[in-house]
């Protein structure tokens, strides 16, 4: 596997490592990458990992992630590390982290929450109850979002 990864080494772009096994495709989908952009994309799934047991890796040639994309990755893959590659070298390595508060990014699941009221100038705000498993609690109504809810909002919302 190591050899194979070296083969697909990229000149410039982003390597997202330590993605929870099985979630690489969610990460790609959330980033809006379908493969039709013409970018070179490598996806490796379910490889052995000391830290996670098994992990996924995503490599995207020619794309440097923005800050808001990094925070979304944290919600899907809380252990991910993001490596920025220039000229075949890792020039920056960032470990994502789930912020204590997630604002404006997700929708509350409770239809009678004030944040779902049309015409009110209110942004959703969740505080992170736990990272593994991911649980977010609405600061307004107390309703919780599970990891599955978060994934379906972030991934489904891109379509």
């Amino acid at each position: 596997m190591e050899r194979e990864l070296r083969v697909s080494k990229i000149a410039e772009g982003t390597v997202i490592d330590h993605i929870d096994a099985g979630r690489a495709l969610y990460v790609l989908k959330m980033l809006g990458l379908t493969g039709s952009e013409g970018l070179t994309i490598a996806v490796v799934m379910n490889v052995p990992s000391k830290k996670l047991g098994r992990k996924d890796i995503v490599k995207v040639e020619g794309v440097i992630l923005r800050g808001d994309q990094v925070s979304k990755i944290a919600l899907i893959a809380p252990s991910a590390t993001i490596n920025i590659i220039r000229n075949y070298e890792v020039v920056e390595k960032v470990k994502v982290s789930v912020p204590p508060l997630v604002e404006g990014l997700l929708r509350c699941a409770n239809p009678s929450c004030i944040t779902n009221q049309a015409g009110e100038p209110v942004r959703s705000r969740f505080h992170v109850v736990s990272v593994r498993p991911l649980r977010l609690r609405c600061e307004y109504c107390g309703a919780e979002l599970s990891h599955e809810d978060v994934v379906s909002q972030l991934v489904g919302g891109r379509e």
Partner: protein, 306 residues
Amino acid sequence: MKGRDVITVLDFSRSEVERVFEETDAMQRALERGERLDVLRGFVMATAFFEPSTRTKLSFQTAMLRLGGSCIDLPPEELSSRAKGESFADTIRMLDAYADVIVVRHRLEGAARFAAEIAAHPVINGGDGTRDHPTQAMIDLYTVRKALGRIDGLVYGVLGDLRYGRAARSFILALTLFNPKKIYLISPPQLASRPEIIERIRERSIEYEEVRSLHEVISELDVLYVTRVQRERFPDPMEYEKVRGSYRVTAESLKGAKPNLVVLHPLPRVDELAYDVDATQHAWYFRQASFGVPLRMALLKLILRG
């Protein structure tokens, strides 16, 4: 406590709740003596009840007037004209410009917290959706303290709609600020307490048990908090008919209770609490209702004057 919002009872520490209770004692003595108070003269309280509630609103208004303050109220026409355009946020901004404190009731959960973020003046939650009713919870615990001299070390039964009923929910949350001996959560499975409430009870290492009928536990209780099981919560009317009898409190169902069992109810009641309980020594709910004004007087004074 000056300048504080009152959104959920958990915004308060135990000692702050006890401070409110001491002030309530003082207010009650003053009321009994027929004193005329003017500690809030010159202050204005706005009530914005987007959901009807005669009792809570009148109780807040009476409390303010008894302290020499004044009240303004968002009239029902205004609430209906809201449908034509003005947002809740803008209505709160307007009231914030007029009043020193705003009491909000709304059918949506989180409305009071949102109002508190908008308003510079303190906001008191008079009930938001199925979530919080912090002043009711304080009144309830104050009644227990009045009736039994303490809140700690007692066995509580909370009966009825523990899932959607904000009074029951807020009462349980308020109990977690203290050290009850045990809490029995008595409800049909569909109306059991939400996971976050159970989690809170566990975090505080309070003993609790979920049971399906009052009958099983009546002899152990020091306090029984009764709320209504509403027909609307049951998609199948047969299901409702099956369970309603088990959640109806009558003098008969209190046989076997401790002699000084305290029965509470947030009122108004429908048929979940029979009239024949009124004549028993357990009936504390009318006194409980009468504590609404002095407790809200205490809270308004502490928030506006410190």
